[in-house]
């Protein structure tokens, strides 16, 4: 069993320790007997979307996000083809905005997105860093994390989270958050989101196995320490006031 992970631009799109998402998913897969190869292209490289089973990009600064978008644009068709073939894709933090129709920066310049989804993003001059508790549409229990964004995203019809009970959603406080369509997952939650949420890691693992037609043992991939960290974080956050 072999899987290829394509980690896009980790040298500049890993602003909040996002590389951990790849490290932890890789460890989970290897524990399940999968031989994992990770490729980490730079802006100057042509990413091997055709050979990838899992594509990941983390958060970057507003400037780096535009640079990543510019670097990816010539490869949009290859990425679109990979998505149509069911590749599992996860873009987190500001990388989420890249897959939409456009990003309008704080100065008013419109940056056309990759167009994998129809939503649009407007940057603002105010950041809303905050802890997050989110209600997933595809798994239980609630997700936890942190968000460090300065934007509002409109037009998401299929959010990854139906609401955030703590923090800021795509457009409004408490509203729906992220985006999901088939095997394409995106969220503004920054940092090691799948490390903090073992159920999310398990869902991604399941999708990767399903796509390959591999059987997945029940309860596979459960790491007691990750589960415990999740429970502690959720319990502590759930006891806090919810307002921004």
């Amino acid at each position: 069993m072999e899987l290829n992970i394509l980690h896009l631009y980790p040298d500049c799109m890993s602003l909040y320790g996002e590389y951990a998402n790849v490290a932890v998913l890789r460890r989970h897969l290897e524990n399940l007997g999968v031989s994992v190869t990770v490729k980490a292209p730079l802006f100057e490289d042509a990413p091997d979307f055709g050979g990838a089973d899992f594509i990941y990009m983390g958060a970057g600064t507003e400037g780096m996000q535009k640079a990543a978008l510019t670097a990816l644009r010539p490869h949009t068709e290859a990425l679109r083809t990979a998505v149509e073939r069911g590749v599992v894709l996860l873009f987190t933090g500001s990388a989420m905005e890249i897959i939409g129709a456009s990003v309008t920066d704080a100065a008013g310049k419109v940056w056309p997105g990759l167009g994998l989804a129809g939503f649009t993003t407007q940057e603002t001059d105010r950041r809303t860093p905050h802890d997050v508790i989110a209600v997933p549409t595809l798994w239980e229990p609630a997700a936890v994390g942190f968000m460090n964004k300065c934007s509002r995203t409109a037009g998401v019809e299929t959010p990854l989270f139906s609401a955030v009970t703590m923090g800021f959603g795509n457009e409004v406080q408490g509203g729906p958050e992220g985006y999901v369509s088939g095997n394409v997952f995106a969220t503004h939650i920054t940092g090691p989101v799948i490390v903090k949420n073992p159920a999310f890691a398990a869902l991604l693992t399941r999708r990767l196995f399903e796509r390959k037609g591999w059987p997945l043992p029940i309860g596979a991939g459960i790491e007691p320490l990750e589960e415990q960290v999740y429970r502690e974080t959720y319990a502590a956050l759930a006891g806090l006031p919810k307002n921004l």
């Binding site: 909040y16 320790g17 951990a20 802006f43 600064t61 860093p129 942190f146």
Partner: protein
């Protein structure tokens, strides 16, 4: 009249606040409400020096104050660290005559990097020192480029910038500024320099101007070093004030090839803080002999390093800052360079003193892999976030049998008192360090 009332109000509130031990922001806050442009109206000293950046502000400001006072100047500065506009207003107005003339030869300000533009809306520094910009409290600061954008509007065309030449982002402040009004400080390639980058992440990998791949001739630490962008030409400037030789182990440095300085605290941070202070004081006309004398005898009061005894152990507590991976990395390097067998204790109990946060992503930015060394026999992970740290340590390559995980810091100290004699190193934040140092079995020796 309104200005005078604001000054009187500020002085009264300051006096009352001192009596009850209250903070230094409130008087300025009320004075600004009464007279919003009071800071424009008052007459300030000819020299106004401001210091901002991610790290080293307080130490640099204290060193500048010590040098300029030794020079015989009356220096007024925010020693209490109230570095936002309200604190700055309190400082200025409480040193003003009722007619609005501030007493003192030099106004010296530690300025919060995010709010400098608010502080300098009504007046501007003659000299603005910017020490460095890197990942620090990102849950509050966003990211270094966001902080850069926040500082930029605070820079007045007439201000002389005193910039860290070795920081590619800080050096961008010179773009568009009169070159005659930019002075650079930096470290020559020396014993601490490496050809390879060290660290979990590399914020200098891309040029901050054009996003091309940055080339480095050498690194001093993290992304601080000698860089040049082959694509757009953004490159390190030659330093007006340079550390031309450095022996960190022996605690010696040389400035501009002619002034030897002894380091009371052998840290690369301290080297840059000294250099920044030296640069701006030299620009203010301080005498080199006097500066060298002050720095040689300067005792850092920041409490970064504390030595203690715990049972048969000799301990060193190295203060980092939570949410600041570079501060951690610097201390981990110090421990990794030690040769005697030791145990390392990492404590993360309260990331913020005020509230709980689940934001632990910064733990993944710390290069804990540096602790995977033969002389480090054991790493103890303690405090409320012990399991978050343990999860991070699963990816360091350090064998699980060398790790110990627990919440109760006192219980760990008690067990250490009873067992062993190896050296101890403690890495933690100001906010958590007393949780160990105030354990009954810990006997402090040095530091503050």
């Amino acid at each position: 009249m309104r200005m005078m009332l604001a000054i009187v109000l500020c002085k009264l509130l300051r006096f009352a606040g001192k009596l009850v031990g209250k903070g230094s922001s409130l008087p300025g806050q009320y004075a600004l409400k009464l007279c919003p442009d009071v800071l424009r109206r008052v007459r300030l000293p000819e020299r106004i020096i401001a210091v901002t950046g991610s790290n080293g502000k307080t130490s640099t400001v204290e060193m500048i104050a010590a040098i300029l006072r030794a020079q015989g100047l009356n220096v007024v500065y925010n020693a209490e660290g109230s570095n936002q506009v309200e604190g700055v207003a309190t400082l200025i107005l409480s040193h003003c005559t009722l007619r609005g003339r501030m007493r003192g030869d030099v106004l010296l300000l530690e300025s919060d990097e995010r709010y400098a533009r608010v502080s300098f809306r009504h007046f501007h520094p003659t000299h603005f020192v910017i020490t460095n910009l890197y990942r620090d409290q990102l849950s509050r600061n966003g990211h270094p480029e966001w902080v850069y954008d926040a500082i930029l509007p605070a820079i007045h065309p007439e201000t002389t910038l005193v910039l860290n030449a070795d920081d590619p982002l800080v050096s961008c402040f010179a773009r568009g500024h009169d070159p005659e009004r930019v002075k650079w400080f930096g470290l020559d390639e020396c014993s601490v320099s490496t050809k390879e980058h060290h660290g979990v992440y590399h914020d200098g990998a891309r040029c901050p101007v054009c996003r091309g791949r940055m080339a480095y001739r050498c690194y001093h630490y993290a992304h601080i070093g000698h860089y040049s962008c082959p694509q757009c030409g953004h490159a390190r400037h030659a330093a007006d004030f340079a550390v031309t030789a450095l022996d960190l182990g022996a605690g010696r440095l040389t400035i501009n090839g002619r002034r030897d300085i002894s380091l009371a605290f052998k840290s690369i941070y301290n080297v840059y803080n000294i250099l920044a202070a030296w640069s701006v004081c030299a620009l203010a006309g301080a005498d080199e002999d006097l500066m060298a004398g002050v720095i040689n005898n300067y005792i850092l009061k920041n409490g970064r390093m504390v030595t203690f005894r715990l049972g048969g152990h000799r301990g060193t507590l190295l203060t980092s800052k939570h949410e600041n991976s570079i501060a951690y990395d610097t201390n981990l390097s110090y421990i990794a360079a030690a040769e005697r067998p030791c145990t390392v204790i990492v404590i993360v109990d309260a990331i913020s003193r005020k509230y709980y946060t689940g934001e632990t992503s910064w733990l993944w930015d710390i290069d804990f892999e540096r602790l995977n060394a033969p002389h480090i026999h054991r790493v103890m992970l303690y405090g409320r976030y012990c399991r978050d740290i343990a999860l991070r340590f699963q990816y360091t390559g350090i064998p699980a049998e060398r790790l110990e995980v627990g919440e109760d810091i006192r219980e760990a100290a008690e067990r250490l008192r009873e067992q062993g004699e190896e050296d101890l190193y403690v890495v933690t934040c100001f906010s958590d360090r007393d949780k160990l140092l105030e354990c009954p079995s810990v006997k402090r020796e040095g530091g503050n």
